[in-house]
């Protein structure tokens, strides 16, 4: 029997039109006098299938993907009213046996995933604490309050949980430092300043299951001895902020925050600090400076935040995902957690698949899963069907891993060996139409703009590196340019003050390591093998394919294309700006990219 209908209403769903679907369903249910609860849930991870509509029965959830208002109407008339699921639209089915959930989906997207942190995401209403509690929420807190703080820290240490923000430092050890630090007031901070291009793990989690993060923080605060917690989240995440605010209010009302939590002697509360969106504020010391009201600029460590952090008091900072792991570990025990993953990287990790991947969304897999499995098994390869050339791991602070290394297990140490980093979990997939020099320039441009400006190597070093890349992509580089880049890049890495500058050269260094031939083609042959770098390419019309329809000429913004009706058209290379419009509008695939020097 159908119990409820739910619409995935995270940012991904909303962007895909979930609001309209929700309104439509609401209207239809009302018009048809169907009194079924219409719920809002978070994101189940299949961002690429949004908007998703779930029809929830006792033992089953049937999910429809890419739902349009018309489809919504039929879902109501057919599935809800007549209990006849529309099988061709079903993208996912969950079955429950004794509370155990098994998921099938049309893409085998979930088959290889293991949900710990995301276990509730997409299934509960993030704005309803009852949903969370029903899903065993806050039971870990109850359990924790019965424990000695040192035992909690031991549990976390033994679980092998490592910081999910990127650096992968042992969470238990970090807590231990903060616990031992001498100071008046201790603080804990949840770092939600997710800023990598193409990363949305934290956003989805905060939007889909905010209580889990809050519960993790309360447990952490109890273990460390902190009275104040701060969630630092960028103001570009209004929905996350809204849901967090709601969750905090609900938790306070339930006595889960504030004085004497759940009747214990432990008091703790959490406030939200909205960041203005500087990437560097993800760095601990810059984040603290920002919370203190100063300019988000890092300062050298030591002193570490654990001894002198916020307002010079001992402070523990963990990433959103790290906090979200805590309740599960306490509920299931460290042994269960440590059983997942590899020897040195325990548990699961969320990855945000983006770029040219077919199945773009959040996936959660055990540490040690290979890239092959993540990108092809779960991600389904590229949207275009072209081969994957590389994946950028860890955002601008990470590196490009080539396809031939996709057999490596994704754990902290193996990934670091490739020159990239696990980072916070962003994976940007590139196919063979991606120029790796251009990719390096793209990420470096990001860091150049996001540098706080404090230290020489970062402010000026990344800028000069970017300019060298620009010289190369413009075809003005020589072997000396590449050498200069190779000289400067490691110096910027070693010479910069904080992680931002230290990791900024990674995209350059890894592309140089794995795709040197592309650099060589740019500087020696003045050619962009992927056909991306505009100054090095030319658009030409294939005379066999051109039918003389005139679409290209009509759309060319600079009037560079001419040709008589039904006759072969020509591109005047002296006028062409390589905007690519002709290629987009040509229905006969007659516009091709060739090397610039081929036509001049």
């Amino acid at each position: 029997m159908i119990k409820a209908i739910a619409v995935g209403m995270n940012s991904c769903g909303l962007a895909a039109g979930a609001e309209a679907i929700y309104t439509k369903l609401q209207q239809e249910l009302k018009d048809r006098h169907i009194s079924l609860p219409l719920k809002k849930t978070g994101c189940v991870g299949m961002c690429y299938r949004e908007p998703l509509v779930d029809i929830i029965s006792d033992n089953e959830i049937i999910s429809y993907g890419q739902v349009t208002p018309d489809m919504a109407l039929r879902i109501v008339t057919s599935h809800v009213e007549q209990e006849q699921p529309i099988e061709e639209w079903v993208v996912k089915k969950d079955r429950f046996n004794n509370g155990q959930r098994t998921t099938w989906d049309v893409d085998e997207y979930f088959a290889r995933q293991q949900k710990i942190v995301l276990e509730n995401s997409g299934y509960i209403d993030p704005e309803n604490i009852g949903d969370y509690i029903q899903a065993d929420g806050y039971s870990a807190l109850e359990k924790a309050l019965q424990m000695e703080p040192k035992d909690i820290i031991e549990t976390i240490t033994k679980s092998g949980l490592r910081g999910r923000g990127g650096a992968g430092f042992s969470t238990g050890k970090k807590w231990q430092f903060a616990r031992k630090a001498i100071g008046g007031t201790k603080y804990i901070i949840c770092n939600g300043d997710e800023g990598d291009p193409g990363a949305f793990m934290d956003r989805n989690l905060l939007e889909g299951d905010p209580h889990r993060v809050i519960e993790g923080m309360i447990i952490g605060a109890y273990a460390i001895g902190a009275e104040h917690g701060i969630i630092y989240v960028r103001s570009e995440y209004p929905l996350a902020i809204h849901r967090l605010t709601t969750a905090l209010q609900q938790a306070r009302r339930k006595g889960l925050l504030g004085h004497n939590i759940l009747g214990s002697s432990f008091s703790f509360d959490v406030t939200i600090k909205q960041g203005a969106g500087a990437f560097v504020c993800g760095e601990e010391t810059a984040l603290i400076a920002s919370i203190e009201g100063g300019r988000g600029m890092p300062h050298p460590r030591p002193p570490y935040p654990a001894s002198k952090g916020l307002l010079n008091q001992p402070t523990n900072i963990n990433n959103v995902e790290t906090w979200a792991n805590i309740p599960w570990i306490l509920r299931h025990g460290w042994e269960a957690y440590a059983a997942i993953g590899t020897e040195k990287s325990k548990g699961t990790k969320i990855f945000a698949l983006a770029g040219k991947i077919k199945h773009g969304g959040n996936v959660e897999v055990p540490m040690g899963t290979t890239l092959q499995e993540i990108l092809y098994g779960i991600g389904g390869g590229t949207r275009t069907g072209r081969s994957i050339k590389a994946v950028q791991l860890g955002g601008p602070s990470g590196g490009c891993i080539p396809e031939r290394l996709f057999t490596i297990p994704v754990d902290y140490d193996s990934v670091t060996e490739t020159g990239a980093i696990v980072g916070s979990g962003g994976m940007i997939v590139m196919d063979d139409q991606t120029c790796m020099v251009d990719v390096a320039k793209f990420f470096l441009t990001f860091t150049v703009e996001e540098s706080c400006g404090k230290c020489t190597y970062c402010r000026l070093g990344t800028k000069r590196m970017c300019e060298l890349l620009d010289v190369i992509t413009h075809g003005n580089g020589t072997a000396e340019t590449v050498m200069e880049l190779e000289r400067l890049a490691p110096q910027v890495s070693r010479g910069s003050l904080c992680g931002l500058g230290q990791t900024a050269p990674k995209p350059v260094l890894t592309t140089l390591r794995y795709f040197r031939d592309e650099y060589t083609a740019h500087v020696e042959e003045k050619r962009c093998p992927a056909g991306v770098c505009k100054p090095l390419i030319a658009y030409v019309i294939n005379e066999d394919l051109c039918v003389g329809c005139g679409a290209c000429a009509k759309h060319c913004p600079v009037g560079a294309i001419a040709g008589d009706k039904q006759q072969l058209h020509h591109i005047d290379q002296s006028l062409c700006t390589q905007c690519g419009t002709c290629q987009e509008v040509c229905r006969f695939n007659a516009i091709e990219i060739t090397d610039k020097h081929e036509v001049t």
Binding site: P302, G453, K454, T456, L460, K463, G495, L497
Partner: protein, 984 residues
Amino acid sequence: MVDVEVDGESMSVPDDVSLFHALRAQGKHVPGLCNLPELNGYGACRLCLINVDGKVQTACTVHASPGAKVETLNEDIVAMRQTALNLLLSDHQGDCIGPCQRGCPAHSDVQGYLALIAMGRYHEAVCLMKKRYILPAVLGRVCPAFCEDECRRHLVDEPVGIREVKRFAADYDLGHGPWMPEIPAATGKGVAVVGGGPAGLSCAYYLRVRGHAVTIFEAMEELGGMMRYGIPEYRLPKDVLDQDIATVIDTGIEVRTSCWVGKDISVEELRETFDAVFLGIGAWHPKTMGLPGENLSGVMQGIEFLQQVNQNKHISLGSKVMVVGGGNTAIDVARSAVRLGAEVHVVYRRSREEMPAEPREIKEAEEEGVTFHFLTNPVKLWGKESVSRVELVKMQQGEPDSSGRPRPVPIKNSNYFMEADTVIFAVGQHTDVAGLQMPLLADAGRLICNDTTCQTGLPGVFAGGDALLGPSTIIESIASGRRAAVMIDCYLQGKLLMAEKTLSNPSSFIADISADETLQQLLFEFRPYNHWKDLSPSDYMHIEKVARKKPRLLKPEERSTNFNEVEQTLSEAAVTHEAGRCLSCGCMAVHKCKLREYATLYEAEQHVFDGQQNHMELDTSHPYVALDNNKCVLCGQCVNTTQKITLEGILDYMSRGFATHVAPPIGTTLQDVEGQFLGDLVDVCPTGALTDRPPFDKPGPWKTTATATICNGCGLGCEMNIEHYGDLAIRAASKTPSWNKGHVCDKGRFGRRWNQGVNAPRIKRQHQWTEISWKEAIQVLHDRMKDMAIVVGPDATLEEAAHLKNMAESYHMPIGADAAEGISTATLGDISIASRIMIAADTKKYPYLAMLLQQALRNGAQLVTDNYDLAILEAPAQPLEVPTLILHHGVNETGLLHMGLKAAPQAKNYLVVGSPRQRLNGFVISLGHFDYADMMLPYPSWIEKDGTVINDFNMELSLHKVREKAVGIERYLWFEEPAVTAAD
């Protein structure tokens, strides 16, 4: 303290300070631009990178740990620091030194001396010139002024007339008792200088000012070389030359004229007798063209001719003279021959444009009737015994030759004849090395020397001037002689090899250079880092065009019959005007710029990373401070100072990434900011991004000396430095260490009360101050001695007060002080430990105290009205039961109170000393400036005094005079016989 290994050496260093300070304390070179002593390491500039246990880290942010292995200068570290510097320089725009200085072969500080001349400080200007060259009066007449070729003013209108301006200053200096250098204690080393021309004189002078004994050996009867025997008197009068040379010789140089080295004495003998030998023997050997008929009588060599003219020897030229050549010598010969009554033709094988002679010389020669024959060359001289005519050939311009000029090619069958009674060849000279009778190598008439050290193949024998350079200008010879002197000095110190390394590859010898002041000076003098802005006329659109003042020349008819000086000196007004045309291109901070210092040491370069540059507007809105973000390296010292120490928040970072810069709050400029410590930010700036704007018409980037003294702005008596250039007090600056941690408020700093003095007696008549003679003034003083009381003002030192007390006793005069009652019982330390502070004073008047209180409040202290543990009151007041700080307006009021000097007694007449503030009822004679006085007598300014004061914290503090005072009447009052009859 922990034991660590630094660069392979075991040492014990403290672990409570960063390695940056610990290593520096050990004498290690650790560069850094962003470190503030009052704060923890900031880590912005990345120059203090060191290797600790295999990892590159900033020294300012790590502390020593036991057993740590530290490397401070390995190849990797040097490369990393160099890259950081290259990066900083890639977005650092400005001129380090003016282009004029670059143009000068001696690299003299042209901008600096022009500024001094603009202010009428001619002796100081000459002093500055003589840091780099001697004989300014000579150069003021005959220098080709390479500086003017580079002058940026040509982008506006015409270059500044630097040579003429210099000439005026040099003549003034000679005419008013020339500036002479101080000669340090004898080093015990002696150097023989062979040749008394510009190179030899220069080498001798610069060795002498380093304390060496110098003997010049001159083959001719008199010193001067080419200046005396080669340049005709109408360009360079002999008396000017004599006076200029005297300023060199009078430093204590021994001279042996008519002594030909190689004939009268051998170089070998000199090597045995002296510790080093300099060969400045010039290039006196004329080149010949090897033409048929050259040995006919009536054929002369230019240099011989000029020598005879300059020795007033009789020369018979006949009526028609042909001069062959196109250099300055040819022109000198031609113009001299005109003056001897001949008709003169100059024959030159190239065109006018290619003539090496100065255009103004050519023009003046033409005005005097010299005829030029360009693209013409002699091929044969005809005559029986004596030359009578010359066969010439016409030339045409061919392909460019090695000099870049078109090669002159004879035109076939174009030969023709010209009559001539005398033919004088002036086609070049070279050095006669053989005459020295020594195994010295030469090439093309020049001695072969080490390019860097000027040492010949013989150890201890150096060379310079034309002998090394070939025929060159006086300034080039002087520069070369000076360089040789510096090298000889290094040689005498046993540092010549190190000097060579220092100048050829400094970044490989940083440790050695940092540990040796001689090498540092050498490096910064001969190979400093400099860069220049790339500018075009459009950058100077806002500059008003002002015509250059030209010197008056004697009219051609006035000059062609005699050897009187042709060019006249500019008037003082014209000189001031001309110096004022200088655009002051060079950076005001060039002498203190740490970026330049490190760039020099690390051989950093601006164009390693050519790329985008930030172009920012200058903020010159503030009367005393200017902000130029184009020079900012974002070290953050100003931001950290104002945000974290002075707590005024005047400046902060703006924008992000590459565009980050420093600015006052959004929407404001420096003139809008409210703060009392803007000047402190100038002091912490390691470059010229924040600079003072001294209240001068044309402040120069002078290399100042710092003298420590006490601020006389209020009773706190902050320690400060006065940076001065000679007698000229440029600015007040931070002094560290000091009790006030280097902070000096803007009031004390820019108010310049410390610079107020009275130079001449003045009396008030009808409310107007009128200058009177000393005699008159003393008379008034004498007349008023009856019923006179002495009032000691708060600017009087303890020593002055003691003298005044003695004097009062001798004369039975009552004495009192202008000092508000109340002596503090609180110390400086009491402020930092106080938790509850009561204030009954206007602390705004005591900015440094206000800063201390702000810091105390930030650290948890409270302002209260009762139950306080520290009281702050303003005098007059009595200490309370808790530690009490009593504030005074005057710097030494507390000191005077300690001496028992209290309220002023009643009298009809008063003699007041030391800047009182209180009005007195009676006839007031003031030593120094006092608005309420009836007569003011000369009195030194605050920075012309030595002495002691006691501040409001009861600290005894010393002030040191920056300069000698002009003799003031106070000498007659108490430092000598207590009699007031002495007059001027």
